[in-house]
């Protein structure tokens, strides 16, 4: 009986059951594909999830950066930079890379004591607390699509490098 149903009828309409079966298969496969996309989205493959949250620490452990590994064009991302130095002494942090050129810094908290340019990079002077830790919160926004690089340096020995991929 099922076999009979797969035969194309000529009356009252012209059918093409092989094609129709292909369409039904496409719908079924497409549905599973959409489920996979939704699950990946929940996991953070398209930003703002466990898979996209990333952090990197410099070799000497002084510099720590939390960033988004994967994000989307046009959304705001937070970037948290923590530097350990000596108590009450200002620290210089240098930010460099295509991330700074392509993305605009929407907020910068707290305001650095000084902000200078150094070639293509920017140099920020941060005050430290009594335990010698300085934290800088940035929110970045970019319309760019693709991979953006960023390098953060604090002094000659502490440097981290990371990249962010922006989906369209």
């Amino acid at each position: 009986m099922t076999d009979d149903e797969l035969v194309s009828r000529q009356q009252p309409v012209q059918e093409d059951m092989t094609m129709q079966q292909r369409v039904w298969r496409f719908e079924r496969v497409g549905w599973y594909l959409l489920v996979v996309i939704v699950l990946l989205g929940l996991a953070g493959v398209f930003g703002n999830g466990p898979l996209s949250n990333a952090q990197v620490t410099s070799a000497d452990g002084r510099l720590h950066v939390e960033y988004q590994r994967l994000s989307r064009s046009g959304t705001t991302d937070s970037l948290r930079i923590t530097v350990r130095g000596s108590a009450r002494e200002p620290i210089m942090v240098q930010l460099d890379g295509s991330l700074l050129r392509e993305a605009s810094i929407e907020t910068l908290q707290p305001q650095p004591q000084a902000s200078l340019s150094q070639g293509k990079a920017i140099l920020l002077q941060l005050g430290t607390s009594e335990d010698g830790i300085a934290t800088l919160y940035l929110t970045l926004r970019s319309e760019y699509v693709g991979t953006l690089e960023c390098a953060v340096r604090a002094g000659p020995s502490s440097a981290v490098h990371f990249s962010t991929f922006l989906f369209p």
């Binding site: 009986m1 009252p12 319309e143």
Partner: protein, 147 residues
């Protein structure tokens, strides 16, 4: 430039998504389907226009969508295989008073859906009174009664 690419990308993405959703999904609009359609429109609008709310950008996006839509319908006129591929075929689901269960299942319909259409359009009570029921290309169910 990017607004044109965005509009074209959105057109193709939506066409694929609605093809996956199938003919049935938005053909018979219930209140919920209508709300769903509005939400889809709202979600699309943000990505189409981005941050640019200028008149020029809106016109560019609309022009791109119309060019694609009319272009596609012209292409369908000229190529029958393409039209078949994009629009699909009508499918028979009731033949001489007998349900074609396998087809009904694959088309994500129920027998009640067909009987509802039969009552609605022809005032038919039983499946035996239906000569043919056809799922049309737009998802509507046409009923041809027995004489």
């Amino acid at each position: 430039m990017d607004s044109i690419i965005r509009a074209a990308g959105m057109y193709i993405a939506l066409m694929l998504l609605f093809r996956v959703a199938g003919r049935r999904s938005l053909a018979d609009l219930t209140t919920f389907d209508f709300v769903l359609l509005l939400i889809i429109g709202e979600a699309t609008q943000q990505a189409l226009l981005g941050d640019d709310f200028s008149f020029t950008n809106a016109m560019l996006v609309i022009a791109t969508l119309i060019v694609l839509d009319v272009g596609l319908s012209l292409a369908k006129l000229n190529s029958k295989p393409l039209a078949r591929l994009l629009d699909g075929h009508a499918t028979l689901v009731v033949e001489h008073g007998r349900f074609l269960h396998h087809r009904i299942h694959r088309a994500r319909l129920t027998e009640d859906d067909i009987l509802e259409s039969a009552r609605d359009s022809q005032g038919i009570e039983k499946v035996e009174q239906i000569k043919f029921a056809i799922v049309e290309r737009n998802g509507k169910i046409s009923i041809i009664p027995n004489e």
